[in-house]
Structure formats: structure tokens, C-alpha cells
Symmetry: C2
Subunit: 418 residues, 2 copies
């Protein structure tokens, strides 16, 4: 089969020029590049790439399984993860599951997934345990797997910390009775509302929503309020559904809406809530102040502009890809028989994951860096299990940093700072 | 190397069960699936996949190069193309170029692109000719390449036809002086405005914007108006920039805005325009009526809900993938020495591409199915060139169907029907 040298000889250029041309470097003229590619194809160099994968077991492709390419959260995350992968010399095979557990199982066990060097799995319908079984022995990162005993490296959105800041900020602008809107968190609202720490001890928090409710409950408690179950409204966080539910709730209240603030536990839910309030004749932020969670592009374009917990997607993507590259490199090192770094990484948030509490932007109150407890306890109690082939390093749980983006259009002016 | 039968024997199941498990079928229990995957990995079946690619030259992966995963147009298109690819048993390697010609060159000439079975290239910074050179001999579909002499199979958005309908509808609700907003179309506005047919003869229309302006100009002419150059405002169609430009234009007019309607040549431009008008104290739709182009999800969530030329992305994605699969199948057939279908496909729009003029929804006026002329002339005059390895079939130009989505919130009530 053709080598770079064969192509170089046939095309009348140096081997370095062939390499540069095939890697798309800019220091090769278009005419030369075209000639080299034609020569490579004539000599069947493509087939040679398969041979290289055969010998190295690598092809430079990472697979990223997301729910929906046209969801504002996933499209922003996919953009940043794709950028981070390319910066590490890898390419992304992005596959969407369209919210189907069956599709995720298929993706994880399909032959082409076996062909990829590593996998990233975003908020799956499957549990971490199921994903682990299906993807066993392959480098894998889970996103927002909040199971208390993760056996795989995980990168989470700032569920607890962001919710804490969102509620603290609503209180700081005068809200006294916020509604928590979105997702499903029915089981343990009483327990979570009563005391998230003891709830955590009794039944570990497992879902994104439970962590967000726990963070909100703690913020209320720290400011002298208690979260009542009636303040939690679980509703699938789609725009249309949220809009309808809030409109109906506001209309039933006959102009006397029971809540003076809403924490939409996703931006899409918050945007739907704004529209639902408007449908019912209420004004944002005068009647009800609103903050979302995610920091998606929609929120900037919306009227009014949305206040939100703005996840630093760039940092989150860098965490995801760097953790996956660590696993790949450990696998390589282990395969070659050399030593590898097996030091436990529990609680190591000094790098990308360091900014746990996030930063607070315009009008934000304090309370940075607090209450990362649940997530980190999870990491600390994790069973030490192989995260990649033949290695024995502990899984990591990283939490993405965030900024509180406060806008007068949805929060009004600060009336009281705690 | 391990075969399916080897895995079946080692795992104590049938070969069919192994096949079902690896393809993710649901008729295999999780326990069995897990055992089979572990066995496959123990026997190094992954490497065997590389061997299969080596022998067949195929790995079932298509590459889709788009500008930006977090743009509402591309994220919706990527979702649908991904779905269509999966329906054809293929997987998408989605790569974003972030609006960089250099990145597109790199993507087209990189080794992993050579590794893919086929390529889809969306509205590139590169010309069709450059893309052709870089991707030579590989199955490739261009999206929105409007060059008048395409040598590659192309799927276009309904640039001319959609713009025609957008303007016709603005006129039908009483607009007399619409502004055409977005993109770059500086060179030939006079010629295009004067007569798009003769302009087309003098210098063929080459860009998405030129086609949209030509369609708009023809609609005006057909209704007894002429497009003046002052009605064309080229501005990079980003939300923030469009918002600023329209606000400043409206403020300079001191409440006497020179236009009673705006055709935003992308939804993002239209949404920016709405906000810019609001910033300047003007009301949509009372002072200015607005329609966009694309049909992205943002437009539904926005306040007010956006009227738009709603591209049928599902149909467009089906066109794209089916055209690519045709090329792949021709390549296969050619490789195996059998006959293949080399009938010219120019003007064959009876299948997916058949609905050229689109359909008109609520409040739409007539004029369906007209003025596809430029695009089809392009197809008809195309040089017949190899579209895939060793085949001799003419390239195709398909145009995605669309619906005019008219909403009172941005268009008001119809005051006059033409």
C-alpha cells in the first residue's frame, strides 16, 4: 500500500509537502494540494488509512451522542465540544438520539461506535450504569450523570451551584416567593425541601432536577425562607408546554399570581414562562421576575432578554475533551507497557474544573464557591474502577463554571441586596 | 481476526444474536448484549472493523461540513440530515468550519475526510470549483452552491422562489415599499433590480443573496412596482448587527421610517430588525411588517412570532442524503463492473425536489410554482461531468420546498389581496 513517500515521489514533491497537504496546512499551494490529493487517491491512500487504524487501533474520531442537534443547549455544547476536539487533533462524530433510550443503546453498541477512539454521552435516557455496561472498556465521558457513585468520568453542569445563585439573586432583587419550574423531581420534594443534606444522606440525589431543587432550597434556607412543595412545578421543559402551563396557572389565579419570581430550570422553560405570563396579561419583570438556567443563544435574542445561569460552555467542553484525552493517553501508555499516572483525581478541581461556584455578573450577590457538596461527595465516594482499558485510575466528576447573567429586562432593578 | 461466528461461539449465542446485539437491535436482552460486546472487544473485533473498511473501502460514515453547530439554520439542517443519514443506515461525522475557508480546505483534504464514504458541504466559503478540486473523485453534495455551471450535485434552499413569495405576500398585506435586508449583494443591485432575466444573461447570478434579490425584484415587477437600489440593504445577517443598523436607520428617519415592510433574508436578520425597530420606538406590524427566510426554531420562540419562508428541512435533508446515496450506489455498481444508471437528471424534480414553488400557508397569495428559472437554467446548462468515481452522470440541482408561514404578529391582517 502507498506510503507518504510513494505519494511524494509520484507527485514530485517532498514527503513533508505531502503530509502538509493531506493535513490541510496552509503552506501548500492549491495547485500542489490538488495534485497531491489526486495522487493519494490514485494510489489508494484512503485504504491505507484503514490499514493504519488496523495497526494502531486509532482513527482520530471521537463520538458525541447528544439528544437533539436543534436544541439550543445541545447545539451550543456541540459547537464548543467540536471546537475543543479539533484543538486536540480529533474529529467529532456527532450523533443524535432524539430522546430515545433505544437509540442510545444502539449508538453505544453499534459497530461504528466500536470504531471510534472514545465516546462522550450527554444526559442520556440510560443510567450511568447502563452506559457503562454498553461502553465497557472504551474511554467514555458522561455529561450530567448525577448518580452518587459514578464509575465513569463525568462532567456536570453546575446544577446545585447554579440553582443556588439563581435563587439567591431572585431574593436579592426583592422576590419573596419564587416558583421552581421545569423537569421532573416529584419523588422527594418534601425531603429535598426540608433539608438537602439529610435528604442526600437518606437517598442520594440522582437527577439534574433534584440537584437544582436542592441548591435552590439551600439558598432559600440560607436567606431565612423555606421551600414549600407547592413552589416546585415539575413540567417537561419544552417551550410550548411551559408556556401553556404558566398561562393556565396565571389565569386560574385571576390576576393574583401566587409567585413573584420564577426560576426556570432551563432557559427554554424560562422563555416559555415569560410568554405564558404575557398571554395571561402579567408583566415581566414588574409582576414576576424571571431567571433561567443554561445561557443558550436563544436567551440573548428573545424579547425580553433573559437573565440566566450562563454555563461557561467553552470551559465545559475543554473539560470534557481533556478528560477523554487523558483516558486515551493512559490507554496508550498502558498498552505500551510504560508507567501511567494512576493518582486519584477525586476532588481535583484546580484546573479546568476549579471555578465551582462560578462568578456573578451585573447585580449579582455574593455566595460564590459554596455548596458544591453533593457533587464532590459523589466524587469522593466513587468506587475506584477502571476508566479506560487496563488502567486503574479513579473516575472524576467535574462541574462546569458559570456566570450569573442578570438583566433588568427580566429581573428589574435590584431593590434589596442581601 | 475474529468473525461474528467466533464471537457467537465464545459467547455461547447464535451468529444472528451477535449481529443483532452489535447493531443495537432491541430483541437482545441487556445481559446478553453486554456479554456479546465484551466478547467482541476481548476478541478485538474493533480491529476487524478496520479490516472490513480495508477490504470494502467503506465504513458507513458520511461527513457533513457546516459553518456553525450553534446557528439556528445549521442546527436545524444538521438535525434533519443526521436523521436522514441514519434512516439510510449511515452515520454523520459533523464538522464545523466556523466560517473559515482555511478550515473548509483542511476538512476537505484531511485524512479523515478521505476516510469517509461521502461528503456534504454546506454553503462554503470556498467556491464549488474549489470544493470540487479538493474533494475530487469522492461522492459530494454541495448545499446552496449557486454557481451557474455546477459540476457537482447541489441542493439549494429556495432562494429565488422563497424571496418571490415573501415579497408577494408583503404586498398582499398592504406593504408598498419593502426593504430587502441582509447578506452581501452589492455588485449588481442595479442590474438585478432593473431586470433579473437580462442580468442573469449578462452576468449569471452566483450567490444566495443575488438569487433572493432577483426573486424579490421579479415579485415587485409582477405587481407593478420596481425595486430601487435604495431598497436593498446589504448587512451581514447577524442578530446584533442587523438590530443596530435598523435602529440607527429608524432613528435617523425621526419617526418617519422610509419603509413599510422588511424582508429579512434570514430569520436571524428579521429578528434583529424587529428588535431594532422596537429600540427606535416603532411597532411591528403596525408601523412596519416583517417576514424572514429560513423557518428556524428561534422564529417560533421569538416575541413576536416571526413570519417566514419556512424551508421544509426534512424534505431538503432527504434530498441531500438520497442524492449522496445515489452517487455511492453508482460508485459501487461501477466498481463491480455492472451497468449503472447514467441517464441525465437535469430538470428531474418530480421526486423529492418536485415542490419547487412551495406551498403557501395562512393568508398566502397565489403565484406558486413560478420563477424557478435561474436555478433550473443552471442545471440545464451544467457541463456533464463525473459526479462520482468512474461514473458519467450529470450533476443535479435540487431546490428544497417551502411553506410561507404568515403570522399576524409580524404581518398584521391582510388588508388587500392581489
Amino acid at each position: 500500500m502507498a506510503t507518504l513517500l510513494d505519494i511524494a515521489r509520484a507527485a514530485g514533491v517532498s514527503k513533508m509537502t505531502v503530509s502538509n497537504a493531506l493535513r490541510g496546512k496552509s503552506n501548500v499551494s492549491e495547485a500542489t494540494r490538488a495534485r497531491i490529493i489526486q495522487t493519494a487517491q490514485r494510489l489508494n491512500y484512503q485504504t491505507n488509512l484503514a490499514a493504519r487504524a488496523l495497526s494502531s487501533g486509532r482513527n482520530g474520531i471521537l463520538e458525541f451522542i447528544i439528544q437533539d442537534l436543534d436544541s439550543p443547549f445541545y447545539s451550543k455544547l456541540a459547537k464548543e465540544v467540536s471546537r475543543a476536539a479539533e484543538a486536540n487533533g480529533m474529529q467529532m462524530l456527532i450523533r443524535q438520539s432524539l430522546y430515545s433510550a433505544e437509540s442510545e443503546k444502539s449508538a453505544l453498541s453499534s459497530t461504528n461506535s466500536l470504531f471510534c477512539d472514545g465516546l462522550i454521552l450527554a444526559t442520556p435516557q440510560l443510567s450511568g450504569a447502563e452506559a457503562r455496561t454498553l461502553a465497557q472498556s472504551r474511554p467514555l465521558i458522561l455529561i450530567d450523570d448525577c448518580s452518587p457513585d459514578p464509575q465513569l468520568a463525568t462532567v456536570n453542569t453546575p446544577n446545585y451551584e447554579g440553582a443556588y445563585q439563581a435563587i439567591a439573586h431572585l431574593l436579592s432583587v426583592g422576590v419573596r416567593r419564587p416558583l421552581l419550574l421545569g423537569g421532573t423531581f416529584i419523588d422527594d420534594i418534601d425531603a429535598i425541601a426540608a433539608d438537602s443534606d439529610s435528604a442526600s444522606a437518606a437517598r442520594p440525589l440522582r437527577t439534574v432536577c433534584e440537584l437544582r431543587v436542592a441548591g435552590a432550597a439551600q439558598a432559600l434556607r440560607d436567606h431565612g425562607f423555606e421551600l414549600e412543595p407547592a413552589q416546585c412545578l415539575p413540567v417537561d421543559w419544552t417551550y410550548e408546554l411551559t408556556r401553556t402551563v404558566i398561562r393556565e396557572m396565571a389565569e386560574r389565579a385571576h390576576g393574583d399570581f401566587l409567585f413573584d419570581g420564577i426560576f426556570g430550570m432551563s432557559d427554554v422553560a424560562a422563555l416559555g414562562a415569560i410568554r405564558g405570563l404575557e398571554d395571561a396579561g402579567l408583566q415581566v419583570p414588574d409582576d414576576v421576575k424571571i431567571i433561567g438556567f443554561d445561557g443558550v443563544t436563544y436567551g440573548d435574542i428573545a424579547t425580553p432578554s433573559l437573565s440566566t445561569i450562563d454555563i461557561d460552555m467553552t470551559a465545559m467542553a475543554n473539560m470534557i475533551v481533556s478528560r477523554l484525552m487523558e483516558q486515551l493517553n493512559r490507554t496508550d501508555t498502558a498498552d505500551s507497557g510504560a508507567d501511567y499516572d494512576s493518582a486519584p483525581r477525586n476532588g481535583d478541581h484546580s484546573g479546568d474544573g476549579g471555578n465551582i461556584g462560578g462568578t456573578v455578573g451585573v447585580g449579582g450577590s455574593g455566595n460564590n464557591g459554596v455548596h458544591g457538596g453533593n457533587v464532590h461527595n459523589n466524587a469522593a465516594s466513587a468506587t475506584r474502577t477502571a476508566a479506560a482499558n487496563s488502567t486503574d485510575s479513579a473516575p472524576t466528576v467535574d462541574v462546569a463554571p458559570f456566570t450569573l447573567r442578570a438583566r433588568e429586562s427580566t429581573l428589574g432593578r435590584a431593590t434589596r441586596i442581601h
